[in-house]
């Protein structure tokens, strides 16, 4: 083989540029000619096929390298997995908590206990008077007899109550507000408390609100934790890729000398970063599922004791794929940062 066709098509170039040095000053034309000379050697289709091929090769190469250094790859992947499993697992638990408390908002009501000697007629009068006024959607009358019957049925203290000379339960009006806003509720509570014949107003929504506040706090904490641990994953990846670049310094130099573009040099490292991230994410999914399975028994028992119809739900099917992809993106980002930072340092020299 002899490079005998290298000057093909270049014969007329010299003629066009009778004074080559001056012609070289025409900046706009030069880069295109470089590209032109290149594509004359390889067709666009060939280049696309080979570009795709290189992507495939880079991915294969990345996987092969992960496999070749199995122990250290496994450790990196586990670090990523643990870092991501923690917030992911907490998020699942929080989702469960949210699902359990959902619908409790609608049960928010005020119990208005009237004086013992209030007549049933007066009780009904008050109830219909309040209905539809300021933030009250609906009222419900619970007479002393109804209250007693209900209490007997539910509490199991029926015998004891029979023994009492009088019905100890006060007449009750249950008031359903149209909002759960604490200020509105507080105002409503005060207003009702000042009404004639009212003994005590009890707000039954407060603990739900506290629980919601706690859940919100949990959400914030998990977000912060996710951010911090995602940053940790990126940093782990930066370091891993930095070492990978360092160990392949010679290869990078040679590739640059024979005309490899930065993209060509970068590609295997980006794939490595993505593979690490993706594998870490998958492992995190497995860790979370195993932990949920492990916790599932006790948690379901606990839920049953609280007579909730809910049972522990595991990760949503979508997060099974979203978490690895998110993790892969983190790996990619880390690799990108490392490559940008360190690849420029490696230049051919002789």
């Amino acid at each position: 083989m002899a490079p005998n066709n290298t000057n093909k098509g270049k014969g007329n170039k010299g003629a066009r540029n009778a004074t080559p040095i001056k012609a070289g000053r025409n900046k706009a034309e030069r880069p295109r000619r470089v590209a032109g000379a290149h594509s004359a050697q390889t067709s666009l289709r060939d280049r696309f096929i080979s570009w795709r091929q290189h992507h495939r090769d880079s991915l294969g190469d990345a996987l092969q390298r992960l496999n070749a250094a199995r122990a250290s790859s496994a450790m990196t992947i586990l670090v990523i997995a643990i870092a991501l499993a923690l917030p992911a697992g907490l998020a699942v638990l929080l989702d469960n908590a949210r699902a359990i408390t959902r619908g409790w908002d609608g049960n928010a009501h005020l119990s208005v206990f009237l004086d013992m000697d209030t007549s049933e007629a007066r009780q009904r009068e008050l109830a219909s008077e309040w209905q539809g006024t300021g933030h009250i959607t609906r009222t419900e009358v619970v007479t002393r007899e109804q209250a007693l019957a209900e209490f007997k049925a539910l509490s199991g203290f029926g015998e004891v109550l029979e023994a009492l000379p009088d019905n100890p339960l006060p007449p009750l009006i249950v008031v359903f507000p149209d909002s759960t806003d604490p200020v509105t509720l507080r105002a409503l509570e005060n207003r009702l408390g000042e009404a004639d014949d009212v003994d005590l107003v009890q707000l039954d929504v407060e603990w739900v609100r506290r629980l919601h506040a706690l859940i919100e706090l949990g959400e914030r904490l998990i977000s912060a934790l996710t951010l911090a641990l995602a940053a940790a994953v990126v940093l782990v990846m930066v370091n891993t890729i930095r070492l990978a670049i360092e160990s392949r310094r010679e290869e990078i130099v040679v590739v640059k000398i024979v005309g490899g573009t930065d993209g060509f040099v970068r590609r295997p490292f980006l794939y490595t970063g993505f593979c690490f991230g993706f594998a870490g994410g998958l492992t995190a999914v497995i860790l979370v599922q195993v932990a949920l399975w492990w916790l599932g028994g006790p948690i379901n028992e606990l839920l049953m004791l609280y007579s909730s119809e809910q049972s522990l739900t595991s990760m949503a099917a979508s997060s099974l794929i979203i978490l690895p992809l998110f993790s892969g993106a983190l790996g990619l980002l880390g690799a990108w940062l490392a490559v940008g930072r360190h690849l420029g340092d490696i230049e051919p020299n002789f």
């Binding site: 083989m1 002899a2 490079p3 005998n4 066709n5 290298t6 000057n7 270049k10 170039k13 010299g14 540029n17 080559p20 040095i21 012609a23 070289g24 000053r25 900046k27 030069r30 880069p31 000619r33 470089v34 590209a35 000379a37 290149h38 050697q41 390889t42 060939d46 280049r47 096929i49 080979s50 570009w51 091929q53 290189h54 010679e250 290869e251 130099v253 040679v254 590739v255 640059k256 000398i257 024979v258 005309g259 490899g260 573009t261 930065d262 060509f264 230049e347 051919p348 020299n349 002789f350």
Partner: protein, 228 residues
């Protein structure tokens, strides 16, 4: 193929590696570049490879002024230049075939085409039967020939060699030189940087001599000025 027009290079540490160097290398010519170490041979090669940029003057490769090239054009320039190194710069984590194929993979040749071209290049340097070996199993001369095969596999119009015979005995050096002469014969501009004076003396080719960054001699070995 190569034109230097009053090229100077001063490194950031203030050292003048090249001062106002001008010469032209036409296609199909084999030229020696010599000088003591530190005379500027490496800098001159680096300017051609765009590893460094000139402080003054202009370098033209294939009638294209490198001063107008951005960093992203460097890979495309380097694909036109075959580079042979003293220490071969082979990769020992892959076969001879894959070493030689690297420039073609990078330039985006089709797979089938790569096989043909690599075997043609290996055939040219007489290593066709070693394509599946790891280059570490080859002798110094064979490694150098793998390096040459890699340098010429995509038929670049320009071939640079940095001390290509540095570690080789005279017989092997001659083999390598014969290869270079063959390439020059088919139109490649070949520039060989060497301080192996016996090698230069054996062949009556054009000789560029650098001393402290200046081109003090341009002609054939006997001293006649060369009509470049």
């Amino acid at each position: 193929m190569i034109q230097f027009d009053r090229v100077s290079k001063r490194y950031p540490n203030g050292k003048d590696a090249l001062s106002k160097v001008s010469f032209t290398l036409p296609a199909g010519q084999l030229t020696f570049l010599t000088g003591h170490s530190g005379a500027g041979k490496s800098t001159l090669l680096k300017l051609i490879m765009m590893i460094e940029r000139p402080t003054q003057g202009q370098v033209l490769i294939d009638n294209q002024n490198l001063n107008g090239f951005g960093n992203r054009h460097i890979p495309l320039l380097r694909r036109k230049i075959g580079m042979v190194h003293q220490n071969h710069q082979l990769l020992f984590d892959r076969s001879v075939f894959d070493n030689v194929a690297l420039p073609l993979v990078i330039a985006g040749y089709a797979r089938a085409d790569i096989g043909k071209r690599v075997r043609a290049a290996l055939d040219k340097v007489g290593l066709l039967d070693k394509e599946n070996l790891n280059p570490i199993m080859l002798s110094g001369g064979e490694q150098q020939r793998v390096g040459i095969a890699r340098a010429v596999v995509n038929k670049p119009p320009l071939l640079l060699a940095d001390e290509p015979t540095g570690n080789l005995d005279p017989a092997l050096s001659e083999e390598i030189m014969d290869l270079f002469k063959d390439f020059a014969r088919v139109g490649v501009a070949v520039l060989i940087a060497t301080h192996d004076l016996s090698l230069i003396a054996r062949y009556n080719h054009r000789l560029l001599t650098l001393r402290e960054g200046r081109l003090i001699h341009d002609g054939d070995e006997s001293g006649d000025a060369h009509g470049a």
